[in-house]
């Protein structure tokens, strides 16, 4: 595949996606050349995708989440861009989906994709409280996971902002496979805000190059983003580490 000098990231926008600016910013700080691209422009010119190493699905309310969060956006993307996305993945490139973006990946069947046919095995449904919640909590990362995005990470404080983040699987069997193959990238540590099975907060695929997660690391880019920053104990915008991991991986494996 073609090698590039700079790590290029496409941040998808449009139709109710709303956390795209901070995600673009996150990749820029992490050392990538990032651009926000309206999904319509991608549909009109699918070849565009080839120019990028990282594809990022931000949070938001695509199509209002009126019919299952991320479901409509997933239909739209899958219908028009399935082939391009498949070759993007096969080229060894990276994908991250955050919150609504995670929901999109899951509902497209890209995660975990056991059947390798993009048929959904897992889902993200209404929180068991029935409420949207915005609060900070701590997640712990799975060191046995192959996920390149979370390499070397242990624990992190991050905000959650969702009404439909309850992770479930179609069967016990699927859950067992996810655990056996260490596809769980991160879990809620001391508080499970939505009733997710096994406290699952983020999932990777068998390649470890695709990550979907409910929490918002892109909302923790500077120490002052942390609600407890004024106490002086917070030294950095820890959320950045995830994006730096992704960009570094591309530099090592895909760039000159």
């Amino acid at each position: 595949m073609s090698k590039a000098d700079t790590v290029k990231t496409a941040v998808i926008t449009g139709y109710g996606i709303n956390a795209d600016r901070e995600l673009e910013r996150a990749f820029i700080i992490a050392g990538s050349d990032a651009q926000r691209i309206h999904i319509q422009d991608l549909i009109e010119n699918p070849a565009l995708l080839k120019n990028y190493h990282i594809l990022a699905f931000p949070g938001g309310f695509s199509f209002g989440d009126h019919i299952g969060s991320g479901l409509v956006f997933a239909h739209l993307f899958k219908k028009h861009l399935k082939e391009e996305l498949e070759s993007f993945i096969n080229d060894g490139k990276l994908i991250i989906g955050i919150c609504n973006g995670f929901q999109v990946l899951v509902k497209m069947g890209v995660l975990p994709n056991f059947g390798e046919d993009w048929s959904p095995d897992v889902s993200l449904i209404h929180n068991n409280t029935g409420l949207f919640e915005n609060s900070w909590l701590t997640v712990s990362f799975n060191n046995d996971s192959k996920c390149i995005w979370t390499k070397g990470l242990d624990e992190m404080d991050v905000p959650i902002r969702h009404g439909e983040g309850r992770f479930i699987t179609s069967s016990e069997n699927v859950l067992d496979k996810i655990e056996e193959e260490n596809l769980v990238a991160l879990r809620y540590l001391d508080r499970n805000p939505n009733g997710s099975v096994n406290n699952i907060a983020g999932l990777t695929d068998r390649t470890g190059r695709i990550l979907g997660l409910m929490p918002h690391p892109e909302a923790f880019l500077c120490r002052e983003n942390h609600p407890g920053w004024a106490s002086g104990d917070i030294t950095e915008g820890a959320g950045l580490k995830i994006f730096k991991n992704g960009v570094q991986y591309v530099k090592n494996s895909l760039c000159r």
Partner: protein, 995 residues
């Protein structure tokens, strides 16, 4: 075709579990279970097969979908005995159906046109497993699911058999009654006052007799007749013209009371003065004076929001609107349209700004009011609160705009009309294509373009309706549902179009619809031609006048140069935004309205915008008697608990956590702060530009109860509260601006309003106080709004709001690293009180709980406080202050308790040397009075002396120390007057009924 979707396993449906909890409380604890079925109805779409429909609308992992068979009859769902299915009434916006249409169009790869006759509807079905409920409880059950004003229900009692006997409809009525689309003329010439009044009332014009007379006389002028004759119009005005005048002249749009000439008698001093326009004499005047000293004002008053400098690259703007009347009728629709509506004010400022934060201040009746005390025809405060809160959640969260600050107020006077203040801040680059972004251009020859949603009958007469009291005949057509996603698509598109220079003039469609947006824009070019038949409609059968005044949501009006229209339209299409060219701006001096080849109206700009007869009003001020009394000894710890638990003071965290308050990644100080993020912040601190540490503070001030004694004090204190919260947060005292929002009961004397002169005097005094405070604090008033008819007349009973002034402040904090929060930090820190304590209890929450009139309201000495605030800011910016909390509702004791809770630290406090207070002052006054301009600060051991030396010339006193022992102990004369643990503070402050 009905596709019915439900969760395979009831445990997976969080919504249903929450709803069950709710109806167990509100309807009957005996209700055992509830299941929710989402229904997708389609008709006349051949390629949409049952299997495709199920694939599109259900989640195969979690849900089950039935098509062609009734889910409620299946074994999975059986066991219910009440079924309620809710759909929207014809013509009411249903965002879910819009998304369903998008979904089908995506799948089929083609658009579904109106003409195709296809039907796409959605419904929600509730299956309730409960013992038999009597009629009253059945009614309450239904009411938890829907609002009859905008929705319709199908109800079945008796389980599956009842459903088999009486199946659910295949589709629901969706046709909206068609109006006669001809243009009507109304004979006015030579009509007397009585006849004119009749017309004004029958047509809901809300125009006074004098106003109707000047309309009549305008049409009788020879010049008018001549011009109309040439244009092919007769002598009598058309309904289109009357509606245009009524909207433009509505209190809502023209602020007649604020521009009236008022004779103000002060019985206290025996003086009388003539005030020509409260707006010019106080609000505009203050800003004019202050602007001489402050260079940061960019655009004030004339545009949709006030614009000030942020940094070298960016400007920021701020606007707060009210949406009281619609929220009284449909709390959800009222508040969501309030939020997305004020977002449009920002999108329509200058060449267009990007909304980056929302605030809201919500005022309801007392939550624990007994059902039977609510007059028939009014909703219970809890019902209003639930709906309004839900609307704020959807409006903000779905738009991707963080809700960063606000407040909930509860007062019996808000039972008639709730007050729903919705605010939005925006940011824009200083320059676009070489010109200031705050400047807009609308020139003759520019095309008048409407972008966004289509026009329907929803929201007709909103402006005129909000300009009267709520009564039994309030029009349901004034109610609308906003669709944040349609608007989000539009706002994304508009920013792209703005940066590409595809348009130079823009304004929002709010109250009055096109009649006011195009009417205002026409003032730039001095005329406009409006082609009503070219407007995109939701359905046919809208009368021309309805098209002109409809307030259907998600619409902006723009001025586009003919040579740019192609590019503009092309970009809109690619972004899924509908646009239509609805006319052309001219310099004819007329609003020229057409419908096809028919002439629908011709109004002179001069008459429309300057023909409104000026109001002449009387105001009489006499100070209410308020003897102060000696307060006997009480259990102060118990009183502190009661205050912490008082609905106005108590924590609203469970409600606020449902707002997304950090999308955008710009939030630095959030609504809740402290070790466990559960203590109150004084205001929000934001970092709008991601790669800069320059920040924004957002704060509010509001204290309606003080107005019972003197609205002059109320205004002083409201400004002080907003400004001191800005200071407490670390804001720059020299760089802040405020907005004024007045919500008053009708102050115009009439049979219905015998006490008009007093209420108007309260308004005059509030304006005087506002002027005084903004001058002393050098806070320019950059925008504002007034809502002057906040009364409800239901079944002969009248409920009027307490005169309420909301002050909203947006200020600069030079470096967000210097922001300060309210929570005590470390054990052993010195606790200081800053500012004098004078012991006023009039209008305070202590007085409310004590139950007796306790004298005058708090007074803000704004001249003195200004110097104090600047000094305190110096100490804060030198990093000497660890925590700072402004003392407001509930007074000193509450403020200290909140700082303790935040830090999970105790405090030992002595009241013996409190600045301003004397040994004689009752303890209750010291603990609970709400003297403004005061703070509680936590200062590190090593910084104390330097802090004291900086503050030496000011009333600043160390009163205690933070302790590891988690309890707050306050003593006076060697004996403890308050002794309370952090757990008790937390328990009292966190009410269970706020969820």
């Amino acid at each position: 075709m009905r596709t019915e979707v439900f969760y395979k396993n009831p445990d997976l449906d969080g919504r249903a579990k929450r709803l069950l909890k709710q109806i167990k409380q509100s309807v009957s604890p005996l209700i055992e279970n509830i299941r929710i079925v989402d229904v997708f109805i389609s008709e006349g779409i051949d390629q949409l097969t049952p299997s495709l429909s199920e694939e599109l609308f259900s989640d195969p992992v979690a849900q089950k979908a039935f098509t062609g068979r009734c889910a409620a009859e299946s074994d999975e769902l059986s066991g219910w005995n009440y079924l309620v299915e809710i759909t929207y009434r014809p013509g009411v916006t249903n965002p879910v159906a819009i998304t369903a249409k998008n979904t089908i169009e995506t799948a089929l790869g083609k658009t579904i046109s109106k003409e195709s006759g296809a039907v796409i509807q959605t419904a929600v079905q509730y299956l309730v497993d409960s013992p038999p409920l009597d009629k009253k409880l059945q009614k309450r059950l239904k009411e938890t699911f829907y609002n009859p004003l905008i929705q319709q229900e199908e109800f079945r009692e008796g389980g599956v058999s009842a459903l088999k006997k009486n199946p659910l409809p295949g589709t629901y009525p969706h046709k909206v009654a068609e109006s006669d689309i001809s243009v009507e003329t109304i004979h006015l010439a030579s009509l007397d006052r009585k006849a004119l009044d009749k017309i004004s009332k029958e047509r809901l014009l809300a125009l006074s007799t004098e106003e109707m007379e000047s309309v009549r006389d305008y049409f009788a002028e020879s010049g008018t007749i001549k011009a109309r004759k040439e244009a092919g119009l007769g002598i009598d005005p058309t309904d289109v013209e009357l509606e245009m005048i009524a909207q433009t002249w509505s209190e809502h749009c023209k602020h007649k009371i604020f521009n009236a000439t008022i004779e103000y008698k002060d019985a206290e001093t025996g003086t009388t003065e003539i005030i020509k326009s409260l707006f010019s004499s106080y609000i505009k005047k203050a800003t004019k004076e202050i602007s001489k000293k402050k260079g940061f004002l960019k655009s004030v008053f004339h545009d949709n929001s006030g614009v000030i400098d942020f940094d070298d690259e960016n400007l920021v703007c701020f606007k707060v609107e009210t949406h009281n009347s619609p929220s009284a009728l449909d709390p959800y629709g009222g508040s969501i349209t309030g939020i997305v509506g004020v977002n449009r004010d920002i999108m329509g400022t200058g060449k267009g700004a990007r909304p980056f934060f929302n605030t809201n201040v919500l005022c309801f009746g007392e939550p624990d009011t007994p059902e039977e005390d609510i007059p028939e025809g009014l909703l219970h405060p809890k019902t209003v609160m639930k709906g309004v809160h839900h609307g704020i959640i959807d409006g903000g969260n779905q738009s991707g705009i963080p809700t960063v600050a606000g407040a909930f107020l509860f007062d019996e006077s808000f039972t008639g009309k709730p007050l729903v203040f919705c605010g939005t801040g925006g940011i824009m680059p200083r320059e676009i294509n070489g010109e200031g972004t705050w400047i807009k251009h609308i020139n003759p020859g520019d095309l008048a373009v409407m972008a966004g949603g289509r026009i329907g009958k929803d929201g007709i007469h909103g402006a005129t309706f909000s300009s009267k009291a709520l009564d039994d005949e309030s029009p349901s057509s004034a109610v609308q549902i906003g669709d944040p996603i349609t608007q989000k698509k539009m706002s994304d598109f508009l920013l792209e179009a703005r940066d590409a220079g595809l348009y130079l003039g823009i304004t929002d469609n709010g109250a009055g619809g096109l009649s006011s947006s195009l009417g205002e824009m026409a003032e730039y070019s001095n005329g406009v031609r409006i082609d009503l038949h070219k407007c995109l409609l939701k359905y046919k059968g809208l009368a021309p006048w309805e098209i002109l005044v409809s307030e259907s949501q998600e619409r902006m009006s723009l001025a586009v140069k003919p040579e740019k229209i192609e590019a503009f339209t092309a970009l809109a299409e690619r972004r899924g935004v509908e646009t239509s060219v609805v006319g052309e701006f001219t310099d004819s001096g007329f609003i020229d309205i057409r419908y096809g080849d028919k002439k629908a109206g011709l109004l002179s700009m001069d008459f429309l915008h300057r023909g409104l007869p000026e109001m002449k009003l009387k105001a009489v001020w006499s100070r209410p008697q308020a003897e102060s009394l000696v307060i006997e000894e009480i259990d102060y710890t118990d009183m502190l608990k009661r205050l912490l638990n008082e609905p106005n003071i108590a924590s609203k965290e469970p409600l606020v956590r449902q707002y997304d308050h950090e999308v955008g990644g710009i939030s630095i100080v959030r609504p809740f702060t402290g070790r466990d993020s559960d203590a109150p912040s004084d205001g929000a601190v934001l970092k709008p530009v991601l790669d800069s540490n320059r920040g924004i503070t957002v704060t509010h001030g509001i204290c309606p109860r003080y107005g019972d004694r003197d609205s002059y004090n109320m205004a002083l204190c409201a400004v002080d509260e907003a400004y001191r919260a800005h200071i407490a947060s670390g804001g720059n005292p020299d760089h802040a601006a405020i907005l004024d929002n007045f919500c008053w009961p009708d102050p115009v004397e009439s049979e219905a309003v015998p006490d008009g002169p007093y209420k108007l005097a309260q308004l005059v005094r509030a304006c005087k106080g506002l002027y005084k405070a903004s001058m002393d604090y050098e806070l320019p008033l950059i925008s504002g709004k007034d809502s002057m008819k906040n009364d409800a007349l239901i079944g002969g009973k009248k409920v009027s709001v307490r005169p309420t002034l909301l002050i909203s402040l947006m200020g600069i904090i030079d470096n967000i690293e210097k922001a300060v929060t309210t929570d005590f930090r470390d054990e052993g820190d010195a606790i200081y009180i800053i500012g004098n304590t004078y012991g006023e209890l009039g209008g305070t929450y202590f007085e409310k709980l004590y139950g007796e009139n306790l004298g005058g309201a708090p007074f803000a000495d704004t001249e003195k406080s200004y110097r104090l605030y600047k000094k305190l800011h110096q100490a804060i910016s030198q990093g000497l202050v660890k925590s700072c909390h402004d003392i407001s509702d509930g007074g000193l004791a509450v403020a200290i308790a909140e700082s303790c809770l935040g830090g999970r630290l105790g405090a030992d406090i002595s009241l013996d040397t409190l600045p301003g207070s004397s040994g004689k002052m009752e303890t209750a006054r010291i603990l609970f009075c709400e003297t403004p301009s005061r703070f509680i600060a936590g200062i590190g051991r090593n910084e104390s002396s330097e802090f004291e030396s900086i503050m030496k010339d000011f009333p600043v006193q160390r009163i205690g120390t933070t302790t590891k022992t988690p309890s707050l102990r306050i003593k006076r004369d060697r004996s403890y007057v308050i002794d309370i643990t952090i757990c008790e503070i937390s328990a009292a402050w966190k009410r269970e009924d706020f969820e």
